[in-house]
């Protein structure tokens, strides 16, 4: 499990801290994740 912890709430921090998160998320094989997750269709969770 990869995990990234950052501090937010201040303006104008170093913007590259989000690049690492976006790279981690975009490099994920979502179809593999779905199959890991038993391939079930996403649970009808409440929308935000």
């Amino acid at each position: 499990r990869s995990r990234i912890l950052i501090s937010i709430g201040e303006s104008f921090g170093s913007s590259d801290k989000f690049q690492k998160i976006n790279q981690m998320v975009s490099s994920t094989d979502w179809s593999l994740k779905r199959s890991l997750d038993g391939g079930s269709a996403p649970k009808p969770l409440k929308r935000l």
């Binding site: 303006s11 989000f18 969770l45």
Partner: protein
């Protein structure tokens, strides 16, 4: 010869640190220009419309955004005091901060990519103190790349 090698190593170390600090200073200058440009744009819009925009249509800095496909299902849990949130996404998403949004709005005059007209360069230089203006000119000429 040994002392020369040590000085040479120290020289390379210092050059690397200077390169990083120049990048840090360029980012700070970009942020300052983008913020002041945003303030100027909002001031001109409010003067033109003769009133500030409705409060529920504006978002004050600082903020971050998370954008994802409209098909994404987001499971959200919130503590009663709103001090803690937990989101589960079933799809790709991206996180960006306010600076990135200002740059994407073009408020840094394209300095981050070295594309800046002479007119824009003049305005951008006016947003920073004299000591920083040479750096703005360098960025306009593509120094960041």
């Amino acid at each position: 010869a040994q002392e020369c090698r040590e000085l040479e190593t120290e020289r390379l170390r210092r050059l690397e640190r200077i390169k990083q600090k120049q990048a840090q200073l360029q980012e700070l200058i970009l942020q300052q220009i983008a913020f002041k440009n945003l303030v100027q744009r909002n001031r001109q819009l409010e003067e033109k419309n003769n009133r500030p925009p409705p409060p529920n249509t504006i978002i004050h800095l600082p903020f971050i955004i998370v954008n994802t496909s409209k098909n994404t299902i987001i499971d959200c849990s919130i503590s009663n005091d709103k001090f803690e949130y937990l989101f589960n996404f079933d799809n790709l998403f991206e996180i960006h901060d306010d600076v990135e949004v200002l740059k994407r709005m073009g408020l840094a005059f394209g300095l981050e990519s070295g594309r800046c007209t002479q007119e824009q360069l003049k305005i951008a230089r006016s947003f920073v103190p004299k000591a920083l203006q040479p750096y703005v000119t360098e960025m306009a000429q593509g120094a960041i790349n």
